[in-house]
């Protein structure tokens, strides 16, 4: 027994040598170990705070830190590069983000189409073997233009063209048109993604030849837009009006109206009766603003005429005809005098208190 007591005593002495790591709290702390945050909702000791602020705050913080670190030390540890680390749980406090959540990018028209058809992008090599030049030529970008120049140092003019056409110029203009079309499509895609309404582009831009339907459409639209007061340009022999989807929308004032089906006798009777009822039950519309304005104007005119006709009274007034004192529409020429009215001590005068 002696040995046991001895050991116990030794342990106690050892424990006394060190300060305790436990802290007593009335209410438990709310800990968020993920963010290393502790909030103590216990009431503050106001007396101690006033008497010795800094010491009290330090002691309070020490206790709370001890509690927080006790919880952290209890977590399972790992060894990473000769340092003991603790895996922290997910933070509980939700903090606002700096920027909104990313939204999925809207698909372009082509991407939508490709997705619907199951078309996948094929990876192309950046360089291709050119048989004519006998070397690798980049598909685009750096040194592509130089290779093109080397390859097409001479372009033949086709037989169906005017022999004086500059084929290089033609090629350049074709390319610039392609670039412009691409840019237009990009802008259209952006507009669609933002759900902005864009005006219809009337006719497709073509470099070489327009198709017969395109020419037809152009002629029809031009006729509509050059018409004056219902007078249209004369028709050419064999000319046909363009028909098809989307053409009517291009021509102002020419929207297709769907014909209603022929009504049955019963329906027709009902429709006519309804119309008759509508006409008979019509009431004159009253414009309230206008009516009020007119009424006020009439009153004013009437009053001014009365004023002109009746001479201002002198001396005593005829009390019988005088309206009662509190009438707000008492427009008399005389200035009101103090002390004549009835006093009402209960009534408060508005406005600033004057002293």
């Amino acid at each position: 027994m002696d040995i046991v007591n001895e050991i116990l005593e030794k342990e106690q002495k050892k424990a006394e040598k060190y300060k305790p790591i436990t802290v007593e709290k009335h209410l438990e702390l709310e800990l968020d170990i993920g963010t290393l945050l502790a909030s103590d909702t216990n009431d503050l000791d106001t007396k101690a705070l006033q008497a010795n602020k800094d010491d009290y705050l330090q002691a309070l913080t020490r206790d709370n830190t001890q509690l927080l670190l006790n919880k952290i030390w209890e977590l399972p540890t790992e060894r990473v590069d000769e340092a003991i680390v603790v895996r922290l749980p997910e933070p509980k406090t939700v903090l606002p983000r700096a920027k909104p959540c990313p939204k999925p990018k809207a698909l372009t028209k082509w991407q939508e189409f490709a997705k619907a058809k199951g078309i996948t992008k094929k990876k192309k090599d950046k360089v291709q073997w050119d048989e004519q030049l006998q070397k690798w030529v980049p598909l685009y970008g750096f040194k592509k233009a130089a290779a093109e120049k080397e390859k097409n140092w001479l372009i033949e003019v086709p037989q169906n063209l005017d022999p004086m056409t500059d084929m290089f110029e033609k090629k350049a203009s074709e390319k610039s048109e392609k670039v412009a079309k691409n840019e237009l499509q990009r802008l259209k895609n952006i507009a669609r993604a933002r759900k902005v309404k864009i005006p219809r582009v009337g006719l497709p831009v073509t470099s070489d030849k327009a198709s017969a339907t395109q020419l037809d459409t152009a002629a029809t639209v031009a006729k509509a837009s050059t018409a004056s007061l219902g007078k249209f340009q004369d028709k050419l022999p064999k000319e046909k009006e363009a028909r098809g989807k989307g053409i009517h929308e291009l021509i102002p004032g020419k929207e297709r109206k769907r014909k209603l089906p022929i009504p049955t006798p019963q329906q027709e009777r009902e429709n006519n009766l309804n119309m008759l009822d509508n006409i008979l039950n019509k009431r004159p519309k009253i414009d309230m603003d206008k009516a009020v304005a007119k009424h006020i104007n009439d009153e004013q005119v009437h009053r001014s005429e009365e004023k002109k006709n009746t001479k201002p009274m002198k001396g005593k007034r005829n009390f019988k005809t005088k309206p009662k004192g509190n009438n707000p529409t008492n427009f008399s020429a005389k200035k009101p005098k103090a002390g004549k009215g009835q006093r009402n001590p209960g009534k408060k005068a508005g406005g600033r208190k004057r002293r």
């Binding site: 503050l44 903090l95 990009r186 952006i190």
Partner: protein
């Protein structure tokens, strides 16, 4: 103020990369903060902001020029600067007779002001006035909020979130135990006074595995008085706190765990076909060859009809 989608394409590759880096990401890094001087900043506010800047250092910028503006009246300058510096937190210092030693702390969401809280620094002792060893820069500090008022007052509730946002730095998975060196304590009294104190942790022997904690004040020590506050609406705050779909934990359906920790699963069975159920075989119920033939024919017809219907639907 956020950019939805630029119409103009960036001209250079570098410009494109810069724009890409500014796009919203599902997991954001630490918020950058910005410290600005307002109209007539006093020596105290300038020093104070510098101290907070020192505490926040790797992800902070300190602009020392004076700016003639009042954040509570017109915050466009802050929004502009925050956009330029890609910052989401800001601190402005100013001084006037009406509001002496004024510190405005706030944060932005989508380059627009979310919260803005004005604090008056009553008493201030700078970090340099404490002559002792400081903590390493960039450490994740422990945050201690003392007092019941933090949860009672709406302004203080938001201020607590703001302080946490300001000082808690990045979210980390694991932390070195020896690296827990710094504590910042915020104590709020009922009179809306906030005591800001910062300490260095000393780990002492306790005879056990868990060490005994002792604190040493390293500064800054500030007594703040709560002044005006402009808090973002709850809708905006909720929108800002939204967790993107990429990070949201995916809950697996039909799996649960009971009190003993064993995994339970729920299985959904299709409707049972009783017609095809194998029952006891008997000689009397056996099909004659003719019946069998008819059944096969019938099945074939059904299959054909189904195929036709399928092709019709595809077209």
């Amino acid at each position: 103020m956020g950019i939805i989608q630029r119409v103009k394409k960036p001209t250079t590759r570098k410009g494109k990369k810069v724009l890409q880096s500014k796009e919203p990401k599902p997991i954001e890094g630490p918020k950058q903060s910005l410290f600005i001087q307002g109209r007539n900043p006093s020596e105290l506010t300038r020093k104070l902001l510098k101290d907070i800047y020192d505490l926040k250092k790797p992800d902070a910028a300190y602009l020392s020029r004076k700016n003639d503006f009042v954040p509570f009246e017109d915050a466009t300058l802050i929004e502009k600067l925050c956009y330029k510096k890609e910052a989401a937190l800001f601190g402005v210092g100013s001084h006037s007779k009406k509001r002496p030693h004024n510190i405005i702390l706030g944060r932005t969401f989508d380059y627009g002001i979310l919260d803005m809280i004005e604090l008056g620094a009553d008493k201030y002792k700078a970090m340099s006035e404490f002559h002792n060893m400081k903590v390493m820069a960039g450490l994740k500090p422990c945050l201690i909020f003392n007092g019941p008022t933090w949860d009672l007052n709406q302004d203080l509730k938001r201020l607590k979130s703001l302080f946490t946002d300001f000082f808690s730095r990045e979210k980390v998975d694991c932390i070195r135990l020896q690296g827990l060196e710094h504590v910042i304590s915020f104590t709020a009294t009922a009179e809306n006074i906030i005591y800001f104190r910062s300490y260095r942790i000393q780990l002492k022997k306790s005879g056990q595995r868990i060490p005994r904690i002792e604190l040493e004040e390293i500064g800054p020590s500030i007594d703040f008085k709560l002044r005006r506050a402009r808090l973002g609406s709850d809708d905006l705050f909720k929108e800002a706190c939204r967790v993107p779909r990429e990070i949201r934990p995916i809950t697996k359906k039909n799996i649960s765990r009971d009190a003993f920790g064993s995994k339970m699963g729920r299985i959904h069975m299709g409707k049972q076909d009783i017609q095809r159920l194998q029952t006891r075989k008997m000689k009397g119920l056996k099909k004659t060859p003719e019946e069998k033939k008819q059944m096969l024919l019938k099945r074939k017809k059904e299959r054909l009809a189904a195929r036709q219907a399928q092709t019709a639907a595809a077209e």
